[in-house]
């Protein structure tokens, strides 16, 4: 299968990735060839196969839903590129 440049641009937009023209063309070729390889999965008749969504048969144990101790705010905010009064600061989202 061969992806078009427009399809690759659309995927990059969905993935929130700014890609150069060279990257778009490179990924167009590489994703096409990877998807060709993946196409061999269609050889298998899986009509009666349940999708595997968890590798372990048993259900894992859920913890009790009680308030615990939160991580220190200053440490968490300390990694943020921009903050204002204990909040993460971002460019305007609403006009």
């Amino acid at each position: 299968m061969s992806l078009t440049l427009d399809e690759v641009k659309h995927i990059a937009h969905l993935a929130r990735l700014e890609l150069s023209a060279e990257e778009l063309e490179l990924y167009r070729q590489q994703l096409s060839s990877i998807l060709d390889h993946v196409a061999q999965l269609d050889e298998l008749d899986t009509a009666d196969v349940e999708p595997l969504t968890s590798v372990l048969a048993e259900q894992s144990e859920l913890r009790v839903d009680e308030p615990g101790q939160a991580l220190p705010l200053d440490k968490l905010l300390g990694n943020a590129p921009d903050t204002d009064r204990d909040q993460f600061k971002v460019p305007p989202i609403l006009d």
């Binding site: 690759v8 899986t46 999708p51 595997l52 968890s54 590798v55 372990l56």
Partner: protein, 489 residues
């Protein structure tokens, strides 16, 4: 001062207890070796010189006081994907260049609680995507057996550190082979545990249905000790299972008499390096000589593991890595428009392989393609798991090569992603099935490069893997071989 860096983890631990040397002396010996050699290996991204010596002094005080913790005063190396509070954690990515975690990964914390101290953080493929450690944004790690070659990946820094004796043991992580393949390429022993066996709290997520924490060391005994200290339920990771952790007693008296070892014909295919096949077959013969029963088994869907994995893992990665958006941590490329800020940040912060997988995963999950790709991959994943379930009705463990070849040259596969993905052909099936796999050295090829064998067990069946590898290592000395480091100083 003797060369303490030749000791195994358990030998070093015992020597510390007996007072043969101090934790400070042991730690200083590793730091000196790192200073002398690591510029040629590039295993470490961060060396915690001051912090680890301070911790060593504290451990020495506790040793003097007669404390007997399982790892008291023993230095370890940790893959830079596992968080340690206050220690820069990069995932070998530019996007996390200055990330200072607010908490410590449970797996690491349990080793610290057992008395271990941390030498530093090791190099890896960016966000654990790759098979060679060439995808690090900072440096390519070199294989200690031949510095022109890759150490494998993605835990290449951890495996190379152990092989070059820059740490007695290390932690890696394994999503599709990232502990086992570098362990094989570097001639050391490494475990990918059962899915859910070791907490992933503090493991920066890549593929959440696959990710695991795995120890790397010189012997099955060392790896088993680290495993048993880390394993067990953690309320902070809902996927960690509350299962009894075996108290591994590996001694000279272990026996594998009657152990049924399955050999799957699908793992001995055309294209496998002949020396790899002959070394693995010789190792299987050694297991037989030790009393194991060899049984041919079939895992008929093996060939589909690569395409299944390269849909499921990128799909999960595209979701997990959505969190890197320049808001809460890491790089931000400023823009007046918030969508543009996301795109610029991610476009500049991620390297080529990470972007490739995010693109692939986004495509596989996008409207109109979900069933054809992700849905079909999940169905075939079940067929792959069923293969293992059926095989383990006949046998106790399965023996396979770890990788089709020994360590390849730096740059050899870096232009063709699909070719690189095919390197994972023997480790991916077990990852997809969630079963444990233990890699350990079983010989060398004509270029004196290590060859590894993998023993795969059923869910929560790590104990038999350790026993079999331990019996093998009692009878052979491949795991004791050391690379002749030829590094210009």
């Amino acid at each position: 001062m003797g060369d303490f860096t030749n000791l195994t983890l358990i030998e070093a631990r015992d020597a510390l207890r007996q007072g043969d040397f101090s934790s400070r002396q042991l730690t200083q010996a590793y730091l000196d070796r790192i200073t002398a050699i690591d510029k040629g290996i590039k295993a470490y991204l961060t060396v915690l010189s001051d912090e680890v010596l301070q911790a060593a002094d504290e451990a020495d005080r506790r040793l003097q006081a007669g404390e007997e913790l399982p790892l008291l005063g023993v230095p370890l190396a940790i893959k830079d994907l596992l968080t340690i509070e206050g220690v820069r954690t990069t995932c070998a990515s530019r996007i996390l260049e200055n990330f200072d975690p607010a908490y410590t990964a449970t797996a690491v914390q349990r080793l610290l609680d057992a008395g271990a101290i941390v030498l530093g953080k090791t190099n890896m493929d960016e966000f654990a995507m790759g098979s060679s450690t060439e995808n690090s944004a900072y440096q390519t790690t070199h294989n200690p057996w031949d510095v022109e070659r890759v150490p494998g990946g993605t835990s290449g820094g951890s495996a190379a550190a152990v092989a070059a004796r820059l740490a007695p043991a290390a932690l890696g992580t394994d999503t599709g082979g990232s502990v086992r393949q570098p362990a094989s390429f570097c001639g050391v022993t490494g475990l990918k545990p059962t899915y859910g066996r070791i907490s992933r709290y503090g493991l920066i997520a890549f593929g959440s249905s696959l990710d695991s924490v795995g120890p790397i060391g010189h012997t099955a005994e060392d790896v088993a000790l680290l495993f048993s200290l880390m394993a067990g339920h953690d309320p902070r990771d809902a996927t960690s299972m509350d299962k009894t952790v075996p108290d591994m007693q590996l001694t000279e008296t272990n026996s594998i008499k009657g152990l049924r070892v399955g050999v799957p014909k699908e793992y001995f295919i055309k294209g496998i390096q002949p020396e790899v096949e002959s070394a693995v077959r010789a190792a299987i013969a050694e297991l037989e000589a030790q009393g194991a029963e060899i049984v041919e088994v079939s895992l008929p869907h093996t060939q589909y593991a690569v395409p299944v994995y390269y849909i499921i893992a990128p799909a999960e990665a595209s979701a997990n890595l959505a969190r890197f958006d320049g808001v809460r941590y890491g790089l931000r490329v400023e823009s007046d428009d918030y969508i543009d800020m996301f795109k610029q940040t991610r476009g500049q912060g991620f390297g080529p392989e990470v972007k490739r997988r995010i693109m692939l995963g986004t495509y596989a999950l996008s409207a109109g393609y979900y069933d054809a790709y992700y849905g079909q991959a999940q169905k075939v994943r079940r067929l792959i798991q069923d293969d293992f379930i059926q095989a383990f009705e006949q046998v106790d463990v399965i023996a396979t090569p770890v990788a089709p070849t020994t360590a390849f040259r730096i740059g050899e596969h870096s232009d063709d992603p699909l070719e690189m993905y095919l390197q994972d052909i023997f480790t991916l099936p077990g990852s997809l099935a969630g079963v444990p796999g233990l890699a350990f050295p079983v010989g060398f090829d004509e270029n004196n490069l290590p060859i590894g064998m993998q023993l795969i067990g059923p869910h929560f069946g790590e104990a038999k893997l350790f026993e079999a590898a331990h019996v093998y290592q009692q009878a052979t000395d491949w795991h004791q071989q050391q690379p002749q480091l030829n590094i210009s100083k």
